[in-house]
């Protein structure tokens, strides 16, 4: 219908143009009118033909369209159904994937956490071992140093005590020796003059002089 209207409108415009032209040029009105009627008739005829064709086409189109719509609807439904199924499958797959992913993630996380814990434990153990080694070394060093210091102190104290004892012993021994010596000398002195003859006195004097000579006393 729209097309027909357009055609009529075009024809009218043409007619009007022609009329206007005829009017302007003062051409034979009758001929022009007949010609225009003929044109109009022809146009109407064409228009009707066009209209019929259009209506037929429209009907066909409507039928076809209706038929297509059903098919489309059916296809749509099938597609929708398929889509739903696929969606379900996809959802299921996705759910499973997510589940698997999360299970895997949790497993990995658990593994990683365990590994991390193991690493941390090992690191802590290593650090503790190091700390223990250091502490052991430090303790050993300090123990050795303390031991050496104690040994030195003990040695010094023992030496001091030994010196003290030795000093006392030496003093006592010197005193005893001196006393013994004095006693021996006194005894000898008391007996020597009585016991020795003049010859023996003389011999002792010569022995003393020999000793002095050996000492280089007379050089």
């Amino acid at each position: 219908m729209l097309i027909i209207g357009i055609i009529v409108s075009i024809l009218r415009e043409k007619s009007n143009a022609i009329v206007s032209q005829q009017n302007a040029e003062n051409i034979d009105i009758d001929q022009a009118q007949i010609k225009s009627n003929s044109i109009i008739q022809s146009a109407l005829k064409q228009a009707r033909a066009l209209l019929v064709n259009a209506e037929l086409s429209g009907i066909k189109e409507v039928v076809r369209t209706r038929h297509d719509s059903e098919k489309l609807e059916q296809a749509y439904e099938e597609h929708l159904h398929e889509l739903v199924k696929r969606s379900e499958k996809h959802l299921e797959y996705t759910t499973r994937s997510i589940e698997d992913h999360y299970v895997d993630l949790f497993q990995k996380a658990e593994k990683q956490i365990k590994s991390q814990m193991t690493d941390n434990q090992q690191r802590i153990i290593n650090e503790l071992d190091l700390a223990l080694d250091e502490a052991h070394k430090l303790l050993t060093t300090q123990t050795q140093a303390t031991h050496q210091q104690i040994e030195r102190q003990l040695e010094a104290e023992i030496n001091d005590a030994k010196k003290l004892v030795d000093g006392y012993k030496n003093k006592r021994m010197e005193a005893i020796d001196r006393q013994i010596g004095e006693l021996v000398i006194e005894t000898v002195k008391r007996t020597i003059d009585k016991a020795l003859t003049p010859e023996e006195h003389t011999d002792l004097v010569i022995r003393s002089l020999q000793e002095a000579k050996q000492d280089g006393f007379f050089t």
């Binding site: 020796d177 000898v188 020597i192 006195h201 004097v205 003393s208 002089l209 000793e211 006393f217």
Partner: protein, 171 residues
């Protein structure tokens, strides 16, 4: 004739100490006096000495030396006799003296033994000087050229002290 060396040699032949040498020099003076101023012969001279030292102890060496001293007196010059005696005295003063500290007085015979050893070992013209000191038992103290050293029993005891201490400790 200078008789001083001969007189000194004779004195040193019989005397070993400064005291003995001075005594023999005194004997020589007496002999000279008797010879030059009493016209005494050798026999008289011996008698004078015997009388003079009749109570003296340990005078054997006087009389042993008399023959030689009488001869020396007789050979001396009367005018120079005292000068000679003075020179001998000075010469004796110059002889080296070894001083010995001994615990007891020794008779001449023992002094001669010591003196013989000293003159044969140290110096043939040495004179001894004995000082009695009980501190030098078992030996003697020796003084020579201004240095004195104890070589008595104390010295030997000190020298052997370690051995003695060791012996005492091991008893």
């Amino acid at each position: 004739m200078n008789s001083v060396p001969l007189i000194i040699a004779t004195i040193l032949k019989y005397a070993y100490t400064r005291v003995e040498a001075e005594k023999l020099l005194s004997v020589f003076r007496l002999l000279s006096d008797a010879y030059f101023y009493q016209q005494a012969d050798a026999r008289m001279m011996e008698s004078i000495i015997e009388e003079r030292f009749r109570h003296a102890l340990d005078t054997t060496y006087y009389f042993e030396s008399l023959p030689e001293l009488i001869q020396l007196a007789q050979k001396s010059s009367k005018g120079r006799i005292y000068e000679t005696i003075h020179d001998v005295s000075d010469a004796l003063e110059l002889l080296p003296v070894l001083t010995l500290y001994v615990p007891t007085k020794l008779e001449h015979i023992y002094i001669a033994t010591i003196g013989t050893w000293v003159r044969g070992t140290i110096n043939e013209k040495i004179l001894l000087q004995f000082i009695i000191s009980a501190a030098y038992r078992g030996g003697c103290g020796v003084s020579w050229k201004g240095i004195m050293k104890d070589y008595s029993f104390n010295h030997f005891l000190q020298r052997e002290s370690r051995s003695i201490q060791s012996l005492i400790q091991n008893v």
